[in-house]
Amino acid sequence: MSKRVKIVLFGILIILVQVAAAQQRFPKPEFETGYVQPSPTTPEPRGLAVEYMDVLVLLAVLSLATWFALRSRSRRGILWLSVFTLIYFGFYRKGCICSIGAIQNVALSLSDAAYNISITALAFFLLPLLYALFFGRTFCAGACPLGAIQDLLIIHPISLPPWLRKSAGIIPVVYLGLAILFAATGTEFIICRYDPFVGIFRLDAPYHMVVLGVAFLLLGMFVSRPYCRFFCPYGVLLNWMSRFSKWHLSITPSDCIKCKLCTSSCPFDAIDHPTEESAPPPGRTYYRRFILYSLLIPVWVLVGGFIASKSYTYLSRAHQDVYLSELLIHHPELVNDPDNLDIQAFLSSGKTLDTLVEDARVVQQKFRTGGWFMGGFIGLVIGITLLNQVVFRKRKDYQPNRGDCFSCGRCMDYCPVKN
């Protein structure tokens, strides 16, 4: 890509950021005497039939993506399907509901008996996982609007070294752990709050979120699908499911002729090379490391659990009760600040500070307990990832990595074997 084109690309993205920041809020008008200010109304929830329609669309898109990836082997089909997904689930449905965010609905429903998860949210959570279990990550290929918007903007992908990909792969695990902890404690749905692309879908977002979204798109021109690979918490689950997929996209429809034409086709570095092309691993060292890393797994789990549990002090501050308690204890003068809506809302509730602190302590306890699970989970994943680095499996052909492959079908286009 020429330097001029890069400058142009950068320029337009900067302008996008500026424009998105130009939001206005219309102040409450001052009417003459006699005007009755209308009472605020709560919009009706989306009709059930329309919700089910969304599930049907998801099912259809997943099936089509699977068909294009596994049967018709059509990259073009997947591409246009992702355009449809971007328009329907992205701009029309404004990024909500989405399977990534549905993790939180499921987590909350499991921790809070009073919370009834909707069938739609459950379907959005389970369907892509089921498809991944049988057919690989076809959801990422054509049914995810977040993936689609990044995929369409891949201009000049660069390859990342394995050590960077592996170590950065811890980030989505941490994000997943935090998202579940925050949702299960009723604190917040952080995946939705920090969805970098929802502001673009809605053409309306806080300034920092627009900056984040545009930054991801800008980065994604060169580092393909950065959010999917290094942040997406749902991608962690899809990765696990896809590893066991019974049927998965293959680069070649029959025997690999080892022409190597596909080696640079994957913008996500998700093609594994045949093992005979790599130098054989030194035997004894790797056995010793295998035993060491195996023994280290419980240590990672315990240390992770302990540290995350200790981290309840700052993690729990994301919860409104803890935040308000600390604010009121530290800054009692803020009760006189009419612009502090949090405090004004609390004051109007009639709740006492003692009750609030009591509630906040319950939340903190949940974070302590949940921290053990979250930290243990993160430690476990780190330990297993480390162990995986000393486990070798034989491969004869160039194959998509079942965990990392998005089933986008680019590699199929490169393969000269068509039948």
């Binding site: 050590w163 981290s311 903190q364």
Partner: protein
């Protein structure tokens, strides 16, 4: 069409789409900055016209001009909004075309690359990966670990001091925790009686105070006057007799100027600040002040402004060594004193309650238990036939206390199913009997002042109730910000006669007179409703908010805003402003009246105002 032509078309389409998007983006930015620089909703000319309208409220031409300008401004605003909205869609369209053209261009230009001949050793790559996974994982855990030590759990100190009776103050001095001392039950009977020397007019020394016994007996002063004797004669407590905000005094001035001295008979400096209101009994004017080091009761000569006596409130059994932390805008001396002509009674946010003779001799004193109140206790005292009534609602629950005016001993105590409040009690004659009426979250309730028995209650309030109730036209009125203004017929099967939530007071109490009820809000709107139906008659916006409760005297409404401007209106359904005299300093206290005179407490000075 050959490949080169397609490449050329896609490249041109990308350039055109980019230029289009760029122009739209620039126009949007210009629109944004133009709107920011000249907001049509914040026109200076509009503000000037509105200012003019205040001086010429009946100028129809001016009103028409304002309406026209307002319409223009709104049109400009909405046009701008339409431009922004349309621009966003155009920009999206341009960006989509640009993206597809670019993609097509680069895809068409791409060539199959040579396979990478140099293979990186998988073993080497894996060794690197192991190292970096450990570094990344270890760094995340280490940072989390350090953060857990760097951040304190601020709720822990609160727990330590908030739980358990008699617990010490919080370990962290920056945390507002109000220590709970002994409850009034445990200090009952420990009322303090003065020594002979004090009765003779000499303040007691430290040794003498320490040696005084707590007997709970009367000091042999004359019996305090009953309620009937007070009504209509003396402004003897917060919002006058009955605490209802209506005075019977006549010839109250409507014009003065604190800066030039116009109609100011005297002006006396108040030694310390406080938010309580002046109280008058014949030639004596009482008020209190306080800070963390000292709490004082002052008595001024109402005729001359001379400070007749001042007494420090100290050496009270059970009084906390360190005053509870209160907010600056409430302070430790927010409650107004009460007097029955025999003694003057004062209460502070420390829970200290004290009685002095009219000449400044200490009669009794006790501590009611430090109120758990995050702003500071502010409920004023009221007297009914030897009963000194104290509304003592704190975070630990609500209660109404009656203390013997002569000894300070508890005569009765009634627990209330309410939360904390800052309102003051009022007295009302309902069905031929007197009742003390309280407002708090969630109850507005009436009690028998003789026994403390709850006679009726209505669950209708919420939030942090600051305004006191009012009584008139046979109805009880209560209001609070974020809740409602409600008219209650006590004891009725369906007690709520009407309610309204359009304008609600935060601090100032409502006042009822002449079939009208007046509300003064903390954001500066004064509203007049029909007391019987709740129909709104008029509203007027002041420059500043109202903290002082409005009072009615001489057939006029007196409402002082925090800027020290008194807004005087006639009691009528049509708004008729009689004057806006200024004090020349900020003011938060309600006025006190006597015939021909009004007494006002400013931030620093006490004023006596009367027509020359």
């Amino acid at each position: 069409m050959n490949e080169d032509q397609i490449l050329k078309i896609s490249a041109n389409a990308a350039i055109v789409a980019f230029v289009f998007s760029f122009i739209v983006a620039i126009l949007l930015m210009l629109n944004y900055y133009q709107l920011k620089a000249n907001d049509p909703l914040e026109l200076e000319s509009m503000e000037l016209l509105v200012e003019r309208l205040k001086d010429e409220p009946n100028n129809e031409e001016l009103k028409s001009e304002i309406r026209s300008l307002d319409l223009l401004a709104r049109k400009a605003f909405f046009t701008s909004q339409w431009q922004v909205k349309t621009g966003r869609y155009l920009l999206l369209l341009g960006s989509v075309i640009w993206i597809f053209a670019m993609r097509y261009y680069f895809t068409a230009r791409s060539r199959i690359e040579e396979p990478d001949a140099a293979q990186v050793s998988e073993a080497t790559a894996r060794t690197f990966s192991q190292r970096w996974i450990m570094i990344a994982g270890g760094t995340i855990l280490l940072l989390a670990f350090l953060a857990s030590f760097a951040v304190n759990d601020h709720l822990k100190p609160y727990q330590a001091s908030g739980e358990g009776e008699g617990a010490g103050p919080a370990a962290d001095e920056s945390i507002e925790v109000i220590a709970i001392t002994e409850s009034p039950d445990t200090v009952q009977g420990e009322a303090y009686t003065p020594s002979e020397s004090q009765l003779d007019g000499e303040p007691a020394g430290d040794d003498e105070l320490a040696a005084q016994t707590v007997e709970g007996e009367s000091v042999g002063l004359t019996a305090p006057a009953g309620l009937s004797g007070l009504a209509g004669t003396h402004h003897n407590g917060f919002r006058g007799p009955f605490g209802n905000g209506v005075s019977q005094h006549k010839n109250i001035p409507v014009d003065w100027d604190g800066m030039t001295g116009k109609n100011i008979r005297w002006k006396a400096e108040i030694p310390m600040q406080g938010y309580n209101s002046p109280v008058l009994w014949e030639d004596k004017l009482f008020l209190t002040s306080g800070d963390n080091s000292v709490r004082m009761v002052y008595c001024f000569d109402s005729g001359t402004g001379k400070l007749l006596w001042q007494q420090e409130v100290r050496d009270i059994p059970g009084s906390p060594a360190t005053p509870p932390r209160v907010t600056e805008d409430t302070g430790l001396s927010a409650p107004t004193v009460a007097t029955d002509g025999t003694r003057v009674y004062a209460i502070f946010a420390t829970g200290d309650i004290i009685a002095f003779t009219m000449t400044g001799k200490r009669v009794w004193a006790r501590n009611l238990g430090v109120p758990d109140n995050h702003y500071g206790h502010s409920s004023s005292l009221i007297i009914w036939n030897n009963h000194l009534l104290v509304q003592y609602d704190s975070n630990k629950g609500g209660k109404l206390l009656s203390l013997d005016t002569s000894t300070g001993n508890t005569r009765w105590e009634t627990s209330r199913q309410t939360g904390i409040s800052w309102a003051s009690p009022i007295l009302a004659e309902i069905g031929g009997n007197h009742q003390v009426i309280l407002s708090a979250d969630p109850l507005v309730a009436g009690y028998d002042p003789e026994t403390g028995k709850e006679l009726w209650s209505v669950d209708c309030m919420m939030g942090e109730v600051g305004p006191s109730p009012a009584f008139g036209e046979g109805l009880v009125y209560a209001a609070n910000e974020y809740a409602r203004l409600v008219a209650i017929r006590p004891g009725a099967a369906d007690p709520v006669v009407w309610e309204n939530d359009e304008y609600l007071p935060e601090i100032a109490s409502p006042v009822v007179s002449g079939g009208l009820i007046f509300i003064a809000t903390s954001y500066g709107v004064l509203v007049c409703y029909d007391a019987a139906s709740g129909e709104k008659y008029w509203e007027e916006e002041a420059q500043q908010g109202f903290s002082a409760s409005p009072l009615v005297a001489d057939g006029k409404l007196y409402a002082m805003d925090t800027g020290g401007i008194m807004h005087i209106f006639s009691l009528s359904k049509e708004m008729k402003k009689l004057g806006t005299p200024t004090l020349g300093e900020r003011a938060y206290a309600s006025p006190a009246f006597s015939d021909g005179t009004i007494y006002l407490r400013g931030e620093k000075y006490l004023y006596c105002i009367g027509n020359e």
